[in-house]
Amino acid sequence: MKYIIIVLILFICSSGFSQTVKLTKKTYIDTSRIEKLSARIAYYGVNSFHPGLKIGVEYPIKRKIVEKPRIPRRKGMKTVRKEWIFSANLTGYYHKNNHTGFWLNPELSRRRTGRRGGFKEFSYGFGYLKTFQPKTYIVDDEGNVEKVFIPGHGFFTASLGVAYGKDYSVRTTQPICWYIKPSYYLIFPYNTLFNMGFGFEIGITYKFLKNSFNK
């Protein structure tokens, strides 16, 4: 009987000690800090090697804060940001013996930023590329040769990119992010149909207003 009482007491105590706060996922739209304009500057390599410079501004148009339990649950809650970001970008690059390009490429990005500031992002862009070529000649049907004034072409573009980076403003007071972003783009109409290429971007973003998402 004595043993039964001891076992019962231990059982009750262990049940009492194991009681914890029930962790549940919470999602809410953050509107208070939506007006955070950022500027970015990046190296942009067309097909990775033809050097270029990309500048742009980005603005989050929708932001969702998700609080959910970490795994294992005893570690508590984590806060994740999910944003739709609009960015306007201008890229200039030089492809030797081919052309110099200026590319206006607005993008819509879906970004997920973790509790430590690491983020990944998928970007979808639609833009316009203006190229400038080296000297170009035209020969008319009579055989007269003329040099073309400011030769080049204009093309529409569509692009897809995946970025990985770190936002230091999440855990510190530094309003800086760095990121790398491989991308794929389509140029059309090009010759009779289209052309495509790959870009590699590595850059930094500066936030004009400090974000404090540490909840």
């Binding site: 492809h95 109409p189 289209f194 495509m196």
Partner: protein, 350 residues
């Protein structure tokens, strides 16, 4: 400030005096014609006054494989002559916007006519022009030469494994069947040869070949070079320099992705016109000095097509060089004999 102005003026004066017709000319420009901007590289010894226009393969290939990609090959030619490498419309890194209907043999010929006018305008009416056409470039060169008085502009025609008769599917079939039977037992790739032989054996030669059959034979024509190389019948004596390959891919005007897309699109769009193209009955019009260089083991455009062209052209000053250990790209298979024959041919003709 005064000194700075003087220095700037001196620099401007010196740069304005730079001779363009140097022994080592490096010129680049575009030719714009009917919606296409064709990149043109003129490199080499312009003092020779001899300009060799390279007509690349395809349709849809690119000219830089004979230049940046193979410097050992191009350097030797450039030390003797000025080489003109240009990407045809819808090929290589050519750029522009044009209707797919302009991807035609006739339009390609017009582009070449205008390129020749431009070259003469830039480097002088007295320059001597030679055409060197490889594979599809042989078709284009032939189509140019048989049109009107075009051959009056050209001092010599170098046809390399070229296709004056693109409809040579039966010749490809017979050549592949013979070689696959021959290699079936002795080759290290006997299974592959067996597959080719069996495929050929089942083709009905009494009817016109279907497009899929033509495409398959063409694919085999390229594939067998790997097996023949392993069996020692084909060699590659052009050294492949990593630095020139990297330069070609990443620091030159070349763009491998653009070139691949152009090749794919242009070859598909021109297939219907080109597959039945046969200029054999007009070869008699070609009267200028001509050299044919052919790989004995070319199964893309078999050597029988080369002999047919050689026998039918109207030139009296003509020669046929059979390269015994070469396939479809004899300039890279046996570079040294290829170059010595080409350099000697150009050197003696004005």
């Amino acid at each position: 400030m005064k000194y700075l102005t003087i220095i700037i003026l001196i620099i401007l004066f010196i740069s304005s005096c730079k001779k363009e017709d140097t022994e080592n000319l490096q010129d680049f420009f575009y030719l714009r014609n009917d919606g296409a901007d064709l990149p043109v590289y003129v490199e080499g010894n312009a003092l020779s006054n001899k300009f060799v226009i390279v007509l690349h393969g395809g349709p849809g290939g690119d000219a830089q494989i004979y230049n940046n990609f193979s410097k050992a090959f191009s350097d030797k030619l450039e030390s003797n002559f000025a080489m003109v490498y240009y990407d045809q419309r819808g090929s290589g890194t050519s750029i522009g916007k044009f209707n797919g209907k302009l991807l035609s043999v006739e339009q390609h010929v017009e582009d070449l006519e205008k390129l020749i006018i431009l070259l003469k305008s830039k480097y002088g009416q007295s320059i001597k022009l030679f055409l060197m056409g490889h594979s599809w470039g042989g078709t284009l060169g032939t189509a140019y030469l048989i049109k009107g008085n075009n051959q009056n502009n050209i001092s010599g025609w170098i046809e390399v494994d070229g296709a004056h008769n693109f409809a040579c599917n039966k010749e490809v079939y017979y050549a592949l069947k013979d070689i696959s039977l021959q290699q079936l037992k002795s080759s290290n790739y006997s299974n592959e040869w067996k597959e080719i032989y069996n495929y050929c054996k089942n083709i009905d030669t009494t009817i016109t070949f279907a497009d899929t059959t033509i495409a398959r034979l063409n694919k085999y024509g390229f594939e067998v070079e790997k097996y023949l190389n392993a069996d020692g019948l084909i060699i590659f004596d052009t050294p492949l320099e990593i630095s020139s390959v990297l330069n070609h891919l990443y620091t030159s005007g070349y763009s491998p992705i653009t070139a691949k897309i152009n090749l794919r699109i242009t070859s598909i769009k021109m297939f219907d016109e080109v597959k039945n193209l046969n200029l054999s009955d007009q070869l008699y019009k070609i009267k200028i000095p001509t050299i044919f260089l052919w790989g004995k083991y070319d199964f893309v455009i078999p050597v029988a097509v080369g002999y047919d062209g050689f026998n039918k052209i109207g030139a009296t000053d003509k020669q046929f060089v059979l390269l015994e250990k070469s396939g479809h790209s004899s300039m890279f298979n046996e570079m040294k004999p290829f170059l010595s024959n080409v350099i000697s041919f150009i050197s003696i003709h004005n």
